[in-house]
Symmetry: C2
Subunit: 886 residues, 2 copies
């Protein structure tokens, strides 16, 4: 016979913590605590299999269920010494749902079940507290009617309000036993009025009603939506827990509280919690009375008067502290605990792993290893990689005063204070003078990159989480608040306003990229702590991960940061970002607007030493590690002059008229630059550009090798390849440049030539393309744009709504769309490796720093991920977790 | 023992026409003719397997080859009655390559092989023609030295020129026997000087040298490139044909000629060809002498004097005519023939299927069926579908005088004459007045569509084969010449100029969209003949094809045309094209620029009756057949006002300021509209638009059903779906509109809801999407753009070069990229049908009218293709051929 019901407490414990699938999380943990000998009010758990049976069989129960529940109920009665429905000594129970994982939308709790017009009198007599008994009864009617019978709670609230008005009192606490008795009667009448049948007096009927309500709530809309969003299968079902009630509100020797076994905010090893004497569980949470501290130390530190539990109930506190230690040793993790003290007796109502801040997670994981409770692997799995982001950036000092100015989207984490500057050039100039600058723009464009780089932080009035400002700032690790709706910027006048306040160029502001808040003045910030626990955890993570972690870095500065964060090479160095720097842009524009090959080569000759210089610095910093350099990618018109004076500069440098230049620039206009003349298409049509870049790379590599003796491993990456032939042609050209440079210098370096797989066709034809590639790097930013047909620059208008409507579970530019884009990555990896088993595979683009995407990369067998410098630790940890889970 | 050599002629015939793989095309056909008892100079064929052996074995021959060649040579000697290398009676041979398919780049021919200092004397004596003998010898030395020995031919030409100068003559024909003898000596000396060894006198050495040259030429660069471009495997190899020489230049009873068994230009059943008395084969082609007609009838029709072969050589002519008939009956196709008459005896040198015009192909195929030579299936396979294009459009009368003005790209076929108009509105007005108009623009934009539609033809100064003008014109079936480089248009002044000539608005011009030529004045055009042979072939094609053929049509006009061309429904009706018509654009703009839902609904209410009216007309014309209506697709800003007066119109209609309107319009700007806020994304964010469109469709369908009693089958197509959820949401909305309209009218129609698969993600997730779709239509235009990452609007800058460099074998917007985009179509079809086996699958977009793409669609199992009206017959024929080949 199937066992549908498991007992716990009162010396029995049929379940265990590892039976969550059958008993749900709550039931399994109650059983576990009971089996540890902890004081758990006795109860029973109806298994999740009953839920499955219920829905598989037209919402009916297994025939044996009634008998099994009755038997288990009898055990509870025996343990408690009271009987369910007994007029003299009634057993009261709570009924709670309990799925494998906590699930909003499910029926939560019915308390005090077992009360009726007769048993309430017994309770009053036994507790010697009629007010408590009638209050409990009316609470039960209210809760049961609402949750089980579907009578809206406002009916009851109205009745309470009317009575208080009649009596001329303001607070519930001013109502007395008789008042609650009267209300209990009115509540019952109201329920009967709404439903057309009386409130159930039969306690068995009450019990089965509540059990049915739990199972029924498994299929209500909110629960279904939650499951779909969180990939929880319908088939899991929920369990039902029926447990003897205990009361913390039975006088001054009773109490109720919640506690963490360690400080959940910073991870310190200290008991941390609150309790209230003569109160019910919900009172602690509701905030009607101020809860008191658990420990003397905490009370003293806070300078509070009200006695701590350690002081007021030393015996029970000692018992509780023992329970804390026992539970921590048992569960090997910080626990979040609910308890009740009834007439001086401690009862444990719940234990579970406690939620914690990133800082606490890190400290607790490391401490638990040092305490010998967990091993390093477990510690690595305990810290949420995404949460590390908080730790890697400066934060606002929580004690510093703040003066709110405006609020936008938390576009790139970190806090920064500085003077307001509205222009990128000025930002650069002031930064060079040692000023901390916050660049404030309506929105940013590629022309602002040097200013963004020079600034401490970026604030924009327009643009979403995937706007230019947001993407570039995250890439650079600069704090950014984007799309501050109330902000109006008048660049010409040099002022910005929000909510009636004005800030001038040169005034101080502070932005918090983690919250999106912007403050007037300079708020004190705290620097991140990257040594100690953080460093320890990273060492452990590195031991277990299979994926290598590289960085996307375009400047020596970023390269150095990334190496500090543990990057094992550069996975993406975007040479075009170098083109925007300083005075180069004029030479770049000459190159683009050249009328013929000769003119273009002249302009390229000016750029060669600059590019070579960049590469020399980057190669030096990344010595011994691979550096993937992507040849020029963006459409040419991105570099074009826009303002009149820019046109004049270029016209002067080229010796042509501004008009002619403008016509030529207009010719370069593209309707869809994303899908236009860029990437290797430029390499094919203007061979001189890639030849110059290849020469700069090889010359730089030889220079670093000969000056430092270090190894330099350039990996030259051809972007936007759609066919093998493009890659084969350009590879041949790069090889020719290599031969020429090596012959000129009489020295060689090893190098690789590979491609980005960033077009669906490239993924599909990866089998051919692999013939001409030493490596693939999946450019999932562009691959997402083309696979889903969404321009990241334009997605703002509908992508938020798409995420809200759950068309996309997450923004596909943040976490890789595994079903669509991911399918192509998988296909590309398989087809590429089928041709060339040793093909090196990586991913670059922002997904490389997203934990879910990193896990995906591990699963499909890539060799490395590459992400922005500040996300390198996140990727390292995520990669380790992926390896440990896999 | 492997048979490496096959003999033919002289009563022997070891090969057959179907042995092309082994003997090559030429060898197989010579053997076939010989076995038919036709007079073929005897010869031998060294098989293609020798070529394979040669390259597999370090360029050496099979050991048995020499003996087999000698034996076959002996047979030739016996048949001819002369001996190879015999001084008194020398056998001369030609050596020719012969692969399975004719292949440029391969060594072609060495003639007169077997001549040396001694045999030339024998030839002189036997032919009684020393000039002929010495001329043949020097030709042989020249040809052999060039082709086999690699001595540049200019050496020899120089020597001839020097001799002619010495002798003071101008023409080769003025040189005499002794002159040629002298030159033969000088040629030999020159070859020895260049090579350092004497010209081979041993005829066997000559023979094996020539054979080796043929095999060697299989691997020269030009041949390799040709094979790669045409997908000819290396492994096929070439055969070598050694054949006894015959001479048409042995006096007045000798002759040489080429002929077709039917007229290759119009298909008429008449012998068609030319011959020359006392001449060699190359003389007919070279054009030094004017060839004479073959038949008396042809001579008389041309009013020529020189006797036809029928008249001058009646006996041989009769024999030749018999051969023609025999060959046609045997090969069951029109033949292209080479022959030589030597001393009154006819020799057949070649036969092969003759090239022909589309018109001739059609007539010949139909005639051959009627003559009982081929069946209908074969006839269907004989006509190149792409060539039909020529027949479906007006053409210029070939006899009409022409006055060249400019030349552009042949962007859309057909010829048209009309008056020049520079403005779309004016074109529409004048067309309404019954004028034939040619719309001339620098380039066209969506704003010009009504003018393009009203015009007879379109001429643009800028833009390629895939420019807006070209694409839209092809879709409408309007002739178009695009990108006429010399053309300068001054719209304001109302003139255009090219090469110094000026044409004013109102002047007549004629454009030929098949050639790209533009003429001054009205050139007479001929209308296409769509009945007779064309109609017959189409009926046969329809019997065999499996694919249905629908049309892309947005207007009643196009719909009617397409139905005439045999369209079996509409596969794509682009509702946005209707939005541009006449005064609607103002209401459309109001809709787009609406500030809220109420304003938008107000504008949509104006559009509803217009859309409904369009659908009523289209449904009526397509009664009984399915009509797929695609809901609004393009990005909103495509409809925005551009000119000041347009802004004013809309501002007035909406009662807002022009400034405000402009700001709003600027907000709608997108960086990559292709990947922007369009298609179903509009449907999701502005539900009112699709609701209006669905209502218009259902109301129109009900109106047509109730007024005509015909069946109407609307298939509503949701564009740009990337996820099932989008489709499910919008499908639910369409269904709700349907219920509402059906309830209002008290009537129902059957309808379907499906989607375009035009994003890679949609193809990848076709399995999910099929759950919410009744049909898929692969939108291969957009799918090509996203899969390859190429914007069609911007591709001009590099796509031509890509095709030239063979990165793409053909423009992927013209013929589907089967390896990339096609792979996704296949995947989408498979995954969709795996979910829903009965899922209706089609393709829309220009590929639907491309024969190779149609064959692909047949192969992957689609149900239908949809193409522009004028391509419907092409698709029908291509579909039939695909079915017959499959």
């Amino acid at each position: 016979m199937t066992k549908w019901v498991y007992s716990f407490g009162g010396g029995v414990s049929e379940g265990r913590a590892d039976m969550k699938n059958l008993l749900g999380g709550k039931g399994a943990n109650l059983a576990e605590m009971a089996s540890l000998g902890l004081p758990v009010p006795p109860g029973l758990t109806i298994t999740t299999e009953v839920c499955t049976y219920y829905y598989d069989n037209g919402q009916s129960y297994p025939p044996e269920l009634t008998a099994q529940v009755e038997a288990a109920l009898a055990q509870i009665e025996a343990a408690v010494g009271a009987r369910f429905g007994d007029v003299a000594n009634p057993l009261l129970v709570s009924v709670r749902s309990g799925a494998r994982v906590s699930m909003p939308g499910m029926m939560d709790t019915v308390l005090n079940l077992g009360l009726n017009d007769e048993t309430v009198e017994g309770l009053a007599k036994n507790s010697d507290n009629p007010r408590f008994a009638w209050d409990s009864y009316r609470r039960f009617i209210q809760m049961y009617s609402d949750v089980v019978l579907g009578v809206d709670h406002y009916h009851f609230e109205e009745l309470i309000e009317m009575l208080k008005e009649d009596k001329g009192v303001d607070l519930d606490t001013e109502l007395e036993a008789d008042d609650w008795k009267q209300l209990a009667g009115e509540f019952k009448a109201k329920t009967e009025e709404v439903l057309g049948r009386p409130f159930p007096q039969d306690v068995k009927e009450q019990l089965w009603g509540a059990i049915g309500a739990v199972f029924g709530s498994w299929q209500i809309e909110r629960a279904k939506v939650y499951r779909r969003l969180n990939n929880i299968p319908e088939s899991w079902g929920t369990a039902v827990n029926v447990q003897a009630m205990v009361f913390g509100n039975m006088g001054d020797t009773s109490a109720t509280g919640v506690a963490f076994t360690r400080n959940p905010s910073n991870g310190t090893r200290e008991y941390y919690g609150e309790y209230l004497i003569n109160a019910q569980g919900e009172d602690v949470v509701a905030g009607i009375r101020t809860p008191q501290y658990l420990t003397k130390a905490a009370r003293e530190e806070a300078g509070a008067k009200a006695a701590s539990m350690e002081e007021s109930m030393p015996e029970v506190y000692k018992q509780l502290a023992d329970v804390f230690d026992k539970l921590e040793r048992h569960y090997r993790d910080m626990q979040d605990i609910e308890f009740t003290v009834q007439h001086g007796k401690l009862w444990m109502l719940q234990t579970r792993s406690g939620k914690r801040t990133a800082k606490a997670a890190l400290k607790i994981a490391v401490d638990l290893v040092e305490e010998g409770l967990i091993d390093e692997k477990t510690a690595v799995l305990r810290v949420d990689p995404a949460a590390l982001d908080q730790l890697l950036h400066p934060t606002l000092d929580p004690t510093a005063p703040r003066d709110h100015f405006t609020r936008g989207l938390p576009a790139s984490p970190g806090a920064a204070a500085g003077i307001v500057v509205f222009d990128a050039d000025e930002a650069e100039t002031l930064a060079k003078d040692g000023k901390d600058v916050i660049l404030c723009r309506v929105e940013t464009s590629p022309e602002d990159i040097h200013g963004m780089h020079a600034a401490r932080g970026i604030l924009t009035a327009r643009g979403g989480m995937t706007s230019h400002a947001a993407v570039v700032a995250r890439g650079m690790g600069r704090p950014c608040v984007s799309g501050a709706g109330t902000l109006r910027i008048d660049t010409k006048a040099g002022v910005m306003t929000s909510l009636g306040r004005e800030i001038k160029q040169g005034d101080f502001i502070t932005i918090d990229g983690a919250s999106g808040e912007v403050y007037v003045g300079a708020v004190k910030t705290l620097q991140p702590e990257l040594h100690g626990d953080f460093a320890k955890l990273m060492v452990w993570a590195d031991e277990y991960r299979k994926l290598r972690v590289r960085t996307n870095a375009d400047t020596p500065n970023d390269t150095a940061t990334a190496r500090e964060f543990g990057a094992e090479g550069i996975g993406l160095c975007r040479t075009e970002h170098m083109f925007f720097e300083g005075e180069r842009i004029v030479a770049v524009r000459e190159m683009i607007l050249a009328e013929d090959v000769a003119e273009r080569k002249k302009a390229l000759a000016k750029l060669l030493p600059m590019q070579r210089g960049d590469f020399v610095e980057i190669f030096k910093i990344m010595r011994g590690l691979p550096v993937t350099v992507r040849l020029l990618d963006p459409p040419l018109h991105e570099f074009l002059p826009r303002e009149e004076d820019e046109f004049e500069d270029v016209a002067k440098a080229m010796g042509v008229s501004v008009d002619k230049l403008k016509r030529h620039a207009a010719d370069l206009h593209e309707f869809n630059p994303m899908l236009g003349h860029r990437g290797c298409r430029l390499g094919i049509t203007y061979p001189e550009i890639y030849e110059m870049q290849a020469r700069a790379i090889f010359e730089a590599a030889l220079e670093v090798v000969s000056s430092t003796g270090d190894t330099v491993v350039p990996e030259i990456m051809i972007p936007l390849v759609a066919t093998e032939k493009e890659l084969a042609m350009l590879r041949a050209r790069v090889e020719k440049v290599a031969e020429t440079v090596f012959a000129e210098k009489g020295e060689k370096v090893d190098y690789m030539v590979g491609t980005m797989i960033e077009l669906p066709r490239a993924a599909l034809r990866a089998g051919d393309i692999a013939n001409s590639a030493d490596f693939f790097s999946f450019g999932t930013n562009d691959l997402t744009q083309t696979t889903i047909g969404i321009s990241r620059d334009d997605a703002g208008r509908f992508l938020d709504q798409y995420v809200k409507l759950d068309i996309f579970a997450v923004d596909p530019f943040v976490s890789i769309d595994q079903d669509g884009v991911g399918d192509l990555v998988k296909l590309g990896a398989e087809r590429g490796r089928a041709t060339k088993p040793g093909l090196k595979l990586g991913i670059c683009g922002e997904h490389g720093g997203d934990p879910a995407s990193v896990e995906f990369c591990h699963r499909v067998g890539l060799d490395y991920v590459s992400c922005s410098p500040f996300r390198v630790p996140i990727a390292r940890l995520a990669a380790a977790q992926a390896a440990l889970k896999g």
